[in-house]
């Protein structure tokens, strides 16, 4: 996917900014607080219909303005689409090819961007829910049924939790049975996806860092995996009833699944340095990128916010080399001009203006 041009109006510190973009690298540099991240945030919003920094649309509006407007021409599988997103305090409206687009999930799955920002580095340090959300979205891209399975599963868990709150234990086995069937589908898809990732993860990690340790994504389901056998899940769920009642909600099931990164078997939270969190996360994103183009010939827009600031010179060199081989459209923010020549365009940002 390629963003041919973009227009950002009344968004963060941009009054109006209109530019053509390079289908290769777009290097955006400038001093602190000038609006580099705001610009790539707009790019990200156009692709994913949300910000990577905030959930509150009000924060995206320019001061004293009631509406921000993002416009772009997006090219996907050789077809040019025009997109407009109007953001107000209350929410957003999406116009795809001048018609309101209601199916947000479909939109996101067609125009997805992958980001790598200072906040993303915390993915494996933050609450498990963030990791589930992240992987849910990627797996949904791989398998459109997954999205509907999640919706169905969420409804079942809500019903079970409601029973637990009301203390009606007689009906629990019925909902456990519903849950077991739905859980089996989800767990199979998650497990298959993680296996796919692990085919490439170590290799890409080595390419980016020059290090030869094995990097693995580890899927730790809440239910014992047991060959995805529904009857086994039902036994486990029924057994957990005392704990369900104690906590007042369903304690077992895919809504409590975990994902970890393991570097030579060592778990992220316990062993990783700041730099390792960064480079392993970058490796994971690049692996996802590779899966997307190997399976779907889809090249998501890649956004790297402040990527080079915390990596050492040796790693930087590897990363640069790696970037040169990517076919994606890339956005990079930095405080300085690129140290090596790159195919693409260079933009300088000063006070919400491109110069």
């Amino acid at each position: 996917m390629i963003i041919r041009n973009i227009e950002v109006s009344q968004f963060r510190n941009y009054s109006n900014c209109k530019t053509k973009l390079s289908p290769a690298v777009n290097w955006i540099y400038g001093a602190n607080g000038q609006g580099k991240t705001n610009l790539v945030e707009a790019v990200y919003y156009l692709c994913n219909l949300e910000s990577f920094r905030t959930k509150k649309p009000a924060l995206l509006l320019q001061e004293k303005k009631s509406e921000a407007v993002l416009k772009a021409q997006l090219e996907r599988t050789k077809v040019l689409h025009s997109v407009q997103v109007n953001i107000t305090k209350k929410g957003r409206q999406v116009l795809l090819d001048h018609a309101p687009s209601r199916r947000v999930s479909e939109y996101i799955l067609s125009f997805m961007a992958l980001s790598f920002t200072p906040e993303d580095v915390n993915l494996f340090r933050s609450v498990p829910q963030e990791r589930r959300k992240f992987f849910n979205r990627i797996i949904a891209f791989n398998d459109s049924l997954y999205f509907k399975n999640i919706q169905e599963y969420t409804k079942i868990v809500a019903q079970k939790n409601s029973l637990l709150r009301q203390g009606k234990t007689v009906q629990i086995p019925l909902w456990n049975e519903m849950l077991a069937g739905s859980a089996a589908k989800l767990m199979k898809l998650r497990s298959d996806f993680v296996a796919q990732i692990n085919l490439h993860l170590s290799g890409i990690f080595e390419g980016l860092s020059g290090r030869s340790e094995s990097l693995k994504l580890f899927y730790k389901p809440s239910l014992n995996i047991a060959d995805f056998n529904e009857n086994n899940y039902l036994l486990q769920l029924d057994k957990s009833l005392p704990r369900d009642l104690q906590y007042g909600f369903a304690v077992l099931g895919p809504h409590r699944d975990e994902y970890h990164l393991l570097l030579d078997g060592k778990k992220d939270k316990d062993y990783f340095s700041q730099g390792e969190f960064r480079i392993t996360n970058l490796s994971l994103k690049m692996t996802i990128n590779r899966l997307l183009y190997e399976r779907y010939k889809f090249y998501p827009v890649l956004i790297f916010d402040d990527l080079f600031s915390e990596l050492d010179a040796e790693v930087n060199k590897h990363v640069f080399q790696f970037f040169l081989e990517l076919k994606n459209q890339i956005f990079i923010t930095s405080t300085s001009k690129p140290p090596h020549s790159l195919p693409g365009k260079i933009f300088q940002v000063v006070k919400g203006q491109l110069v």
Binding site: S144, L145, K148, E152, K155, I156, A158, Q159, K160, S162, L163, Q166, K168, Q171, L174, W175, E177, M178
Partner: protein
């Protein structure tokens, strides 16, 4: 100009209908203002009569004006086959199609703890009695293919497994005359998993 009180009252009553907003409610109300007094009386009579005459059948709980309803008392229908549905209005599309010659049972809802509906809130007592006292050899579960409907189907399956020789569930899949191109993923998945052999 302010809307006169009597008109406003009618608009309000219409806007309580499902799927009717204020705009539509106003349009309906204005339309009634164009009625002759005879037409208006007919509408009012119809409203009063529907409440007076339509009740739930004491056997199947479907809508009826005679008790038991014309389906339950029909001698030509197969009394040994019971089709279980969630709501009384679910009976009409099945009847219209004419494919089913048995009798019905309305549950008056589907299991949903979130809405405070468990098996004890459903019309199961009468169903148990029917099964105990009559010779029923097949229960066709026609609850909706939603989480609530599926949970209800599962409940019925467990509850009556020992009492009825044959319990069946309506098939899910591609609509007749439909084009594969327009079928959604879940329906396709159901259609694939529910496929049947034809070369026997």
């Amino acid at each position: 100009m302010q809307i006169p009180v009597a008109l406003e009252r009618l608009v309000y009553e219409f806007s309580r209908f499902p799927g009717v907003g204020r705009k539509t409610a106003q349009r309906l109300a204005f339309n009634i203002l164009r009625y002759t007094s005879e037409e208006t009386q007919n509408l009012a009579d119809a409203l009063v009569q529907v409440k007076e005459q339509i009740r739930y059948c004491s056997v199947c709980s479907g809508f009826t004006d005679v008790d038991p309803c014309s389906i339950c008392s029909h001698t030509g229908r197969d009394q040994e086959q019971v089709c279980v549905v969630e709501q009384p209005n679910n009976i009409f599309p099945i009847e219209k199609s004419g494919v089913f010659k048995g009798v019905y049972h309305v549950l008056m809802g589907a299991i949903s703890p979130l809405d405070g509906i468990g098996p004890e809130q459903l019309n199961l007592h009468k169903l148990r009695n029917r099964i105990a006292n009559k010779n029923i050899n097949e229960m066709i579960i026609a609850t909706n293919p939603t989480v609530k409907g599926e949970a209800t189907a599962l409940y019925l399956q467990h509850e009556f497994a020992g009492n009825i020789s044959k319990i069946t569930r309506l098939a899910c899949g591609i609509p007749a005359g439909g084009d594969l191109e327009y079928v959604d993923d879940i329906t396709l998945m159901e259609a694939f998993s529910g496929r049947h052999t034809i070369n026997t």
